[in-house]
Amino acid sequence: MKKYIFLFSSLVIMSLTSCSSEDPEIVNEEELITTLRVTLTPQGGGNVVTLQLQDLDGDGPNAPITTVSGPLQANKTYTGVTQVLNETESPAENITLEVEEEGDEHQFFYTFSNSIATVTYSDQDKNGRPVGINFNLTTTSAGIGNLTVVLRHEPNKTAAGVMAGNITNAGGETDVEATFNLTVN
């Protein structure tokens, strides 16, 4: 008899719990990167160039939007700073700080097509290896080409060419990938 009571009461409990459904809480997305911004300041004066990739719906169906503020000058060195942001929050969360803090597990890579420019890193992680938040970009002669910026999580920094900025052997996982069409005048 006890068993029937047990069964019955469990059924009652079940039907009761099924009525009390509250609305779920919205997820506050952590470490979501919506924006990559590269600021290039010419050494010795000139126009600051900003490159930006923005994807406000994250993994949603809308494609990211790329903007380039203007052309680069030929044969010039720019001081570069790259930022990654979460702009779904207000004010925007600066994720660059976390990347910097864990610099040994992250690296930005800058790859050009048509050899329009080169990049040298100007920062170091705790092991003395580059992170790539700060860098110098030196343009060559005039032309057009692409700059691809990739943020890798857990790259193999000791692999051949990686510390010099060659992504080929880096491995790891891509956190951000942006391609900008650049004009060098």
């Binding site: 919205i26 997820v27 997305e29 990211p64």
Partner: protein, 799 residues
């Protein structure tokens, strides 16, 4: 001396006066469960030599019975001997019931070759304890591959999902000690949470015809049975300890069984397994270690007439996912595909790092049965299950300690079944089910939910009939109806909601607009019918034919309807579809069985036409800030599958044996005229065994396992511009890997240890030739080879 004689004489006189030995016992012996007469039963008065034998009507007479209390011992071939004490003070007439029940008998002989078949017209294969012990360190999915037609779909080598005739996940019902496993089985990377060591036998029914379990088992049913209690006072147990070289793994499993003559029993099982990084022939598979701990208690009371059972089981699995498989974007996938070896190859370690899964499953069950004379058996059951799944991704900062997936699934099920077996040639079984399930996705993960919060209610009723028409013909049929209701609360990204066109189709589902996200409340109902009809034709003592037709329907599962998000381990965005219908399978099967003392043949053939078959396949790519990802979407089509499974076992002599397992399946998307994705290729397993009982039960089996290349696959390859290299490349995610041929060898010996104990030692070598291979049905085949050579030493002690 004289005195003694006098006393003795007096006693005899006294005895003679008080003891009247002129009474008759007239009785009838009847079968307990159907009330039919039992002839040829022996009725003996205990401690005398007076006995009688029942006639064809079950009647017997014993005359010249003395008064007083006597005990009758009633025995019959195939029955449990019963004792009954009666008081004689005149002629006695009575009915005596014998527990003459074939089902109970077969349950006892299950350890042997006889199988209690759930559906007479469907092929059912049983793996015995002896076979399961070989897989003490492995998983359910690995063990089931012993059965022709059963393969598996894997994520690495620790997550192994059984696949029956090409069907897996929600299309397979797993019954663990009478409880239908509810452990988020919808996902390909969600392996069944089962500790094989706690089961005495595992059987597989191909096809959906076993309607007592559900109407949706389009693939089949896997049934794990615990030890059947014996009614005698005993305590016994066994311990298995194993070590294997690949993964430097060790495993330990102990089980204890205590049974009492009065019907009480209790079994306890504990298992612990620990694996480090596994090794492919040429490199370590970094972060493939795992840890598994399981406990279970199964106790109760069981007699022929009544019984109850309480079962509690808990299992915790922590499984590392191959480090190199965690990637972001198509460019990473292309890099992985181009590389011959995985990128991350570290030294051996037991450490389980992110990405990993941490899953616990808990079952509590209470059941009760009672037999009613001349009617049948009533069984009532309630079970509760809780499945907690954490999945950890590679994340930045303190978030690495926060799971990216945190799902809690609780299920309550109540069932009532009645088995009418009073009539000899007819058996009816009827039952009803009520199930309530609630899934809660913890928002603290900081990652959008892949699976939404939902509540599900299921109600089901069924009836099955079995009729022995004649000695050679046996018919069975079944009918089942299930109602499923989903109440879902899900956040959609507004952009996704609009892109899927739901803003036009289902504007009424939105209950809250949060700008970039919408809270919606879809409520879905499904009515599912299933019908089964079959026959068994016995051709001779050795040969029989089985025919079965089953129509089954399966509602879409929560992942198929609502999946939403990025799967890093597969580098793909997976999207559910709200408008999916139930899929409907029409399966016709025919089996030929032959069994004699030296050989066994089982040939299963089937055709399965599935209307609105639900599957996931790539559909273009989507650009995100991490780069492009292939977008995989659930969709429906009409599918046609047919194939065969053959199992032959032959003993050439007392020492030598041979066995063959082979299967082939053809699967076509008839709507789009292309093959169905993820179908097992042709495979063949040959083994030769040598046994010699004189050499301490020495047995050695050499196994050749051939798995063909799947030449029938849909081409979902696509071109993608890779910014890093400034080139457009073909991303080949469809081409299956090459065929492979592996050899394994298993050796066993038995030794006595003390008076009552036995030790069994086995040494198995898997992938003897250390062959490099990749398996089409392993989702990590893009990243690394499968396992290399493995020496496995296992010691089993019975006490």
């Amino acid at each position: 001396m004289k005195k003694i004689l006098v006393v003795f004489f007096c006693m005899n006189v006294f005895w003679a006066f008080s003891q009247k030995c002129t009474y008759n016992i007239q009785g009838t012996i009847l079968d307990f469960h159907d009330g039919t007469a039992i002839d040829n039963a022996t009725i003996l008065i205990k401690n005398t030599n007076k006995f009688a034998i029942s006639d064809s009507k079950g009647n017997f007479t014993i005359s010249n019975v003395c008064n007083g209390k006597i005990t009758l011992v009633i025995s019959h071939i195939g029955c449990k001997t019963s004792e009954k004490t009666i008081k004689i003070d005149g002629n006695y007439t009575g009915k005596f019931l014998l527990e003459h029940h074939s089902e109970e008998l077969e349950e006892v002989t299950l350890k042997g070759k006889i199988v209690v078949k759930k559906v007479a017209s469907l092929s059912e294969t049983v793996l015995s304890k002896k076979m399961l012990e070989n897989y003490s360190a492995a998983s359910l999915g690995d063990a089931l591959k012993e059965i022709a037609g059963v393969s598996s779909i894997n994520t690495g080598n620790a997550i192994v999902k059984p696949m029956i005739n090409g069907m897996h996940s929600s299309r397979i019902i797993v019954m663990n000690n009478g409880v239908r496993l509810q452990d988020q089985e919808w996902g390909i990377e969600h392996a069944p949470n089962i500790d094989l060591n706690s089961s005495e036998s595992v059987s597989v029914i191909k096809g959906a015809g076993a309607l007592a379990f559900g109407s949706d088992a389009i693939g089949g049913v896997v049934i794990l049975n615990p030890k059947n209690p014996i009614r005698k006072d005993s305590l016994f147990g066994s311990t298995i300890a194993g070590f294997q070289t690949n993964g430097n793994a060790y495993n330990m499993a102990t089980s204890l069984h205590k049974t009492y003559k009065n019907g009480y029993f209790i079994d306890a099982n504990a298992t612990h397994k620990r694996f480090g990084d596994f090794r492919a022939p040429h490199y370590f598979l970094t972060n493939t270690g795992s840890k598994s701990t399981a406990f279970s208690l199964n106790g109760g009371y069981k007699t022929f007439e009544t019984g109850w059972n309480i079962f509690v089981s808990s299992i915790a699995n922590e499984i590392g996912i191959l480090g190199a498989s965690h990637i972001g974007g198509i460019q990473d996938l292309v890099n992985a595909l181009n590389r011959q070896e995985p990128l991350i190859q570290n030294e051996f370690s037991y450490t389980i790092d992110n990405p990993k899964q941490d899953v616990t499953h808990f079952i509590a069950k209470a059941s009760y049965f009672k037999r009613f004379r001349n009617i049948g058996k009533l069984t009532l059951q309630y079970d509760f299950q809780e499945n907690q799944r954490f999945e950890y991704d590679r994340r930045i900062g303190d978030n690495r300690f926060i799971p990216a997936v945190d799902l809690n699934l609780q299920t309550h099920t109540a069932t009532a079944d009645f088995l009418f077996d009073a009539k000899n040639s007819w058996t009816f079984q009827s039952g009803a089910l009520f199930r309530f399930q609630e899934n809660v996705a913890n928002p603290a993960t900081g990652v959008r939910r892949l699976i939404p919060d939902y509540q599900k209610t299921d109600v089901g009723v069924y009836t099955t009939i079995k009729h022995e028409f004649s000695e050679n013909w046996l018919f069975d049929a079944g009918l089942r109806y299930d109602f499923n209701f989903y109440g879902v609360k899900k956040f959609y990204q507004t952009s996704r909601w609009n892109a899927l066109g739901y803003d036009v189709l289902f504007p009424e589902l939105v209950i809250q607009d949060l700008g970039t996200q919408l809270l919606t409340n879809p409520e879905l109902s499904f009515h599912n019918f299933a019908f089964s009809l079959g026959a068994k034709r016995t051709l001779s003592d050795e040969n029989s034919l089985l025919f079965n037709y089953t129509m089954a329907t399966r509602p879409p599962n929560i992942a198929e309807l609502f999946s939403d998000g990025l799967h890093h381990s597969a580098a793909r965005i997976e999207l559910g579809l709200l408008t999916l219908n139930s899929e409907k399978s029409n399966r016709f099967s025919m089996s030929f069985l032959k069994e004699n003392s030296s050989s066994k043949w089982q040939i299963d053939t089937y055709v399965n036409a599935i209307q609105d078959y639900i599957f996931i396949a790539p559909n273009g790519t989507e650009q995100t800030i991490r780069g492009a990802f292939p977008k995989w979407e659930y969709r429906q089509t009409d599918a046609l599958l047919f194939g065969f499974d053959i199992n032959i076992q032959k003993e050439f002599s007392e020492n030598w044996g041979y066995s063959l397992n082979t299967s082939y399946i053809y699967a076509q998307d008839t709507e789009n005229k292309m093959p169905i994705i993820d179908m097992p290729p042709f495979q063949m397993r040959n083994s030769i065994s040598y046994n010699n009982n004189d050499w301490h039960g020495f047995s050695s089996t050499l196994i050749s396992e051939f798995v063909g290349r799947q030449n029938r696959f849909p081409d979902f390859n696509f071109n993608q511009f890779i910014a890093e290299t400034n080139t457009t490349v073909l991303v080949d995610i469809s081409t299956p890997p090459n065929a492979y041929h592996l050899f394994h060898i298993n050796n066993t010996m038995n030794f006595d240890w003390g008076k009552h104990s036995k030790i069994q030692v086995s040494l198995n070598i898997n992938n003897l030739l250390n062959t490099s291979y990749r398996n089409y049905l392993n989702r990590l085949r893009f990243f690394a080879d499968d396992l290399g050579r493995n020496f496995q030493l296992q010691i089993k002690i019975n006490y």
